[in-house]
């Protein structure tokens, strides 16, 4: 590679890293992965819903919610509504007031009632800007989990491997019985620059939480190896790996977690 090109790419990498690090550090671990949902809330006189991924991902697989329950990977595309929740879909798949988890009854989501006690229940989700007491407090919750410097400050992979979390992958009445995923092939993705090691993508690791249809073809429409060249610019703007690894899974500035192959 021409020395000038090398210098340019290195400069670009530094710029990217600086941007990525500053972008990540402004988000506190508790807020990392937070989704604010406001499809119909404001129109109905309610504040938007605050959904924290950390709590839900510790208990359920990504696949359960993004395939079986049908939450789209694209923000706002699901159009969750009080009507779908009350019918036992979307949030109402679990939050129906009847289902129990780990010995606790899961509180019911939306209801047509306007009683005062109902209002308190609404605020458990419709809580943007409100100081609502949560059932699970972040710092207490993460105490027992292995730490990571970035993202939620939790090493989710290690937590799962050590059995500290056991995400549920089947929801009675909602999920369909499936056989385990049969894809365990690793995919090597060549780094665009000589000084950065290649990526070794593990289908097996991703299959622990996901199903094929979470990623294919919506996020990765690649039907032939090498047909699409990924760039860190695209990824950091939320495409490909960036769909999860800029918002929920460990962030992009944790380079060595993906770029694992030694430089040749």
């Amino acid at each position: 590679m021409h020395p000038f090109t090398q210098l340019f790419t290195f400069f670009f990498f530094l710029l990217f890293s600086a941007g990525a690090v500053s972008a990540m550090t402004v988000v506190s671990p508790e807020i990392y992965g937070r989704v604010v949902i406001n499809n119909y809330s404001s129109r109905s006189g309610l504040v938007p819903v605050v959904f924290d991924h950390w709590l839900h991902r510790a208990k359920f697989t990504c696949r359960l919610c993004h395939v079986d329950v049908g939450f789209a990977m694209e923000a706002g595309a699901t159009k969750i509504s009080a009507a779908t929740n009350m019918r036992g879909f979307h949030c109402g798949s679990c939050h129906n007031g009847n289902r129990a988890f780990e010995g606790r009854k899961i509180f019911g989501s939306c209801s047509g009632s306007v009683m005062q006690e109902e209002a308190e229940r609404c605020e458990r989700c419709h809580s943007l800007g409100k100081d609502v007491k949560k059932e699970y407090e972040f710092n207490t919750f993460i105490n027992r989990l292995p730490k990571n410097a970035l993202g939620n400050s939790i090493d989710w992979e290690e937590a799962e491997t050590k059995g500290l979390i056991k995400p549920v992958d089947f929801l009675e009445g909602i999920s369909i019985k499936r056989t385990p995923m049969k894809m365990d092939k690793d995919v090597s993705i060549e780094s665009g620059v000589a000084w950065m090691s290649d990526v070794l993508f593990s289908h097996k690791k991703h299959a622990v939480w996901n199903g094929c249809e979470v990623c294919h073809p919506e996020i990765f429409p690649i039907t032939k190896k090498g047909a699409i060249k990924f760039s860190m610019l695209q990824i950091s703007s939320g495409e490909y790996c960036g769909v999860c690894h800029t918002s929920v899974a460990f962030p992009l500035n944790d380079c060595q977690r993906c770029h694992t192959k030694p430089v040749q």
């Binding site: 049908g70 009507a83 369909i176 049969k182 894809m183 249809e213």
Partner: protein
């Protein structure tokens, strides 16, 4: 001898009656004509979408068949009420898109 003949005729008649209600494409079986039409789409949906994890091991013909089954299901789901339609069309789309993706990958191999 007559008893055996009668027995054989009965077995044959039962087999004919039951095969009349067997939907080969759906691979479901309705006992002696008792068909729950309302839930047929859900049984078919569960059966088709339960196969997504195996998408990589299916042959192109099997994948084409699964895509066709998804396409047949779509108009049935479109007839449901708005809530169910919204949820199940999205879920069906996930299955269909995956089978189509797997087929395209196989054809490029």
């Amino acid at each position: 001898m007559t008893k055996l003949k009668t027995c054989l005729i009965c077995i044959a008649a039962a087999a004919i009656l039951c095969s009349g209600t067997q939907d080969i494409e759906k691979k479901t079986f309705s006992w002696c004509g008792v068909v729950h039409a309302q839930d047929d789409w859900k049984i078919e949906f569960d059966d088709v979408c339960s196969k997504t994890q195996d998408a990589v091991i299916f042959s192109p013909d099997e994948l084409r068949n699964l895509i066709a089954r998804c396409d047949k299901l779509k108009p049935l789901i479109e007839k449901l009420d708005e809530t169910q339609r919204k949820v199940f069309l999205k879920r069906l789309q996930l299955c269909r898109d995956l089978f189509s993706f797997a087929l395209e990958s196989k054809e490029k191999e």
